[in-house]
């Protein structure tokens, strides 16, 4: 008999006619949800999470995963998820923990925004045969630029240009620490970033010594836990980022459970092995914008003003005013993470209910910075469930300079969104530190798949630009007139500064 009233969510169905009893599925399941008792059977103790690893390693295609057909009586308000949550809490008294991003049906504003295209009156451009400029510079821009001619006739800037990150396509990999993901997963992203001419981010877990060769393509984070933050690390990175908040868990800290703090993670973070890695909710040296300014300039001093300093915040109610303060505090890049953003682990209620969608946050911040005449002083990176090149194009049209992606990149590494990152059992070797699981993720294989994804998005983005009749991403940036809204209320349209379709 089960010792919980929470029903199983999934069932593995094994076709025993096809099964050759090779046990790859049994050995492959990070959750121990399959057992071999003369033949492969679902485990009595551990439950299937629908990560599909077994399905994919089965050479005979003998496994299917189905939803448990066990029904609750239908109730619009008391959905099965909610009943199960209350049941688990009644049984354990614990705070619910989730992985990945917000899974509640809040709706996605991207899906209510249409991009424009040229017809007759201005010609569209064929990106397959004409040049298309996607190169993006992230960092503070001067008020104006004076140019001069060099001795060989080349044009160069006379105005000093502050340090910039140079992206060949307007995408970066969002911060995911060594700890939240495996070293192999981080290495795959680092290799892909180097190959693509974009950037990856260390997250708040420091930079493992094996990844220093990829540091010139890394944004190194300085978060409240200050894990692995030291002078060599700060100097190694292409940019330094102060992590204030994360879209999946605004306003709260984090903790990597002691069982995940392996020797390598302990070394990289500079903490004793097996102890919890606690990230305080605030930086305790930052209680105000003035204090933020203090850390921004401390980091600029530490890097001798050679790299841009980014500040990452979660999109919350007053995001525009906060962003204005951050820019005035001296940040060169502001990274805004919307409330559908992912996480290795966050309390479920926080993940699902705190913060605001990235779409409105981009628009609100961009508008505010323009109105105040300081938009040139910083670049905007937007993140929080950018799912494809269309979301990317719409984010840029709303005012983002570039987008950061995490979930999409993890999907390229095999992730099936089973949302069990917090358990540390990831069968795909991504969000786990168990060596028997992490070693199945080959960084070179992963890097190629991630690079494929970004190449594909890049081509699609060029096609979108071509259809819009522009030949540079710069021409789409903040060009909200190229967007129209369907089924969005008037106030939201006003904040987005986007007309209704047909207007």
């Amino acid at each position: 008999m089960r010792n919980t009233f929470v029903p199983r969510r999934f069932r593995q169905v094994i076709d025993h006619e096809k099964c050759q009893r090779c046990k790859r599925c049994v050995m492959g399941c990070g959750f121990g949800a399959l057992e071999f008792q003369g033949r492969v059977v679902p485990s009595a103790k551990n439950e299937c999470v629908a990560c599909h690893y077994c399905v994919n390693v089965c050479p005979e295609e003998a496994i299917t995963v189905v939803e448990n057909p066990l029904k609750y009586r239908w109730h619009e308000v008391w959905q099965p998820d909610i009943i199960m949550q209350a049941t688990r809490q009644a049984e354990t008294g614990g705070v619910l923990l989730s992985g990945m991003g917000n899974d509640r049906p809040w709706g996605v504003i991207w899906d209510h925004l249409c991009l424009d295209a040229c017809q007759v009156t201005n010609p569209s451009i064929d990106p397959l045969r004409e040049p298309m400029e996607l190169r993006t510079f992230l960092g503070r821009k001067p008020e104006s630029v004076e140019v001069e001619h060099g001795p060989n006739g080349e044009i160069r800037a006379r105005t000093p240009i502050p340090p910039q990150l140079v992206l060949e396509t307007p995408v970066i990999f969002a911060p995911m620490s060594f700890g939240s993901i495996s070293l192999n997963a981080q290495k795959a992203l680092a290799m892909a970033a180097k190959d693509l001419g974009i950037y990856w981010s260390t997250g708040e877990g420091g930079l493992h010594k094996d990844l220093y060769p990829y540091a010139d393509r890394a944004i190194v984070q300085c978060a409240s836990g200050r894990f692995g933050v030291h002078e060599e690390y700060l100097r190694a990175g292409a940019a330094v980022e102060i992590k204030i908040g994360q879209g999946a868990k605004p306003g709260i800290g984090g903790h990597l459970p002691g069982r995940k703090v392996t020797t390598a993670i302990a070394e990289t973070r500079g903490i004793p092995e097996g102890t919890e890695a606690l990230s305080p909710a605030p930086h305790h040296d930052i209680y105000s914008i003035e204090d933020l300014r203090q850390l921004i300039w401390a980091l600029k001093e530490a890097t001798e003003f050679r790299v841009p300093v980014s500040v990452k915040i979660a999109a919350v109610h007053n995001v525009a005013a906060i962003a204005s303060g951050i820019v005035r505090a001296g940040a060169d890049i502001i990274y805004i993470d919307g409330f559908r953003g992912g996480t290795g682990a966050a309390p479920t209620m926080i993940r699902n209910h705190l913060g605001i969608p990235i779409e409105v946050a981009i628009a609100a911040v961009d508008t505010r910075l323009r109105k105040e005449g300081i938009r040139n002083q910083c670049s905007i990176i937007a993140a929080g469930s950018i799912r494809n090149s269309a979301d990317l194009a719409k984010a840029i049209a709303l005012g983002a300079d570039a987008c950061a992606i995490a979930t999409a990149a993890l999907i390229a590494l095999g992730c099936h969104l089973c949302q069990q990152c917090h358990t540390g059992n990831c069968s795909w070797g991504i969000t786990t530190q168990r060596p028997e699981l992490t070693r199945r993720l080959d960084p070179a294989w992963g890097a190629e798949r991630v690079a494929n994804l970004i190449h594909a998005w890049t081509e699609e983005l060029k096609e979108i630009l071509g259809a819009l009749g522009v030949n540079a991403i710069e021409s789409l940036r903040g060009s909200r007139d190229r967007l129209r809204a369907v089924f969005l209320d008037e106030k939201t349209r006003e904040i987005l500064d986007v007309k209704a379709a047909g207007e």
């Binding site: 969510r9 705070v95 030291h230 459970p257 070394e267 903490i271 102890t275 305080p280 040296d285 203090q294």
Partner: protein, 265 residues
């Protein structure tokens, strides 16, 4: 503090010595001058007329000594890696912030958040310190930060402590008026040790996370070299310091939050 020390009168022609007058100098220029001096091979740099300049010694990776006369601003020796900084006066907030290695000596009082996230090295404060001192200090097998306060500390001492040693000695007049530490000492601590000398009220220790007991001989032996060094730097009598009772605050668990969470079904 009283009796402000005067700068040394070393010969100006000593190639390893440089005096920098910080009067009216912006911190950015001051730090540039210091980095330049280190680049020129100076081993001993005196900075005089310091008046609140921030980030002195920020990220310095060199075995040099920097003596500061006047009051330095916040984030003194932040990210510092190997140098020695001596302040012949009071210091402000966030001294030794995320210090990697080296030693910071303050001959007066210091403010809040001293030694935040220290990874290694030593911070010695002669007088009293403010709130949230020594929070989230860390530790590795071959690197262990040490923070010693001669006077008293306010609330949240050693919050989130993950490693290292924090010592509060209560040698100042402030200590004689009450206890050596404020409320919530050791809250969220899950590693390291806090040593408190003198009177400590039971309810000042965050009992959910930490337990307090009287230091054993073994406990004291573990910190004796650091205590001796501290006493030598400031001219305290080690025997007198050791004559008073010491308390040790140690974490109850290395994983204080593990049991609080359950997976979302």
């Amino acid at each position: 503090m009283t009796g402000i020390e005067q700068p040394s009168q070393l010969a100006a022609e000593d190639s390893e010595y440089l005096r920098i007058d910080a009067k009216g100098l912006h911190y950015r220029l001051l730090n540039e001058r210091i980095r330049e001096a280190i680049g020129d091979g100076r081993k001993y740099i005196e900075v005089v007329n310091v008046h609140g300049q921030r980030y002195i010694g920020d990220g310095i990776q060199a075995h040099v000594q920097i003596d500061i006369y006047g009051i330095p601003g916040n984030d003194l020796a932040i990210f510092m890696d190997g140098a020695e900084v001596v302040v012949h006066n009071n210091a402000q907030d966030a001294v030794g912030n995320t210090l990697n290695s080296g030693r910071v000596i303050v001959h007066g009082d210091a403010g809040d958040v001293i030694g935040y996230g220290m990874r290694g090295g030593k911070v010695f404060i002669r007088g009293d310190v403010g709130y949230r001192v020594g929070i989230h200090m860390k530790e590795e097998p071959r690197r262990k930060p040490v923070l010693i306060v001669g006077g008293t500390a306010a609330d949240f001492l050693g919050e989130y402590l993950a490693g290292g040693v924090l010592i509060v000695l209560g040698l100042t007049d402030t200590a004689r008026r009450g206890t050596v530490v404020g409320d919530y000492c050791g809250t969220g601590m899950h590693g390291g040790r806090i040593y408190l000398r003198g009177t400590v009220e039971e309810d000042h220790i965050a009992e959910r996370f930490a337990e307090k007991y009287e230091a054993t001989e073994e406990d004291l032996n573990a910190i004796l070299p650091d205590l001796a060094e501290f006493c030598e730097v400031f001219g305290f009598d080690l025997d007198k310091v050791l004559a008073e009772r010491f308390w040790v605050v140690k974490p109850s668990s290395r994983n204080p939050y593990g049991a609080s969470y359950v997976p979302n079904p």
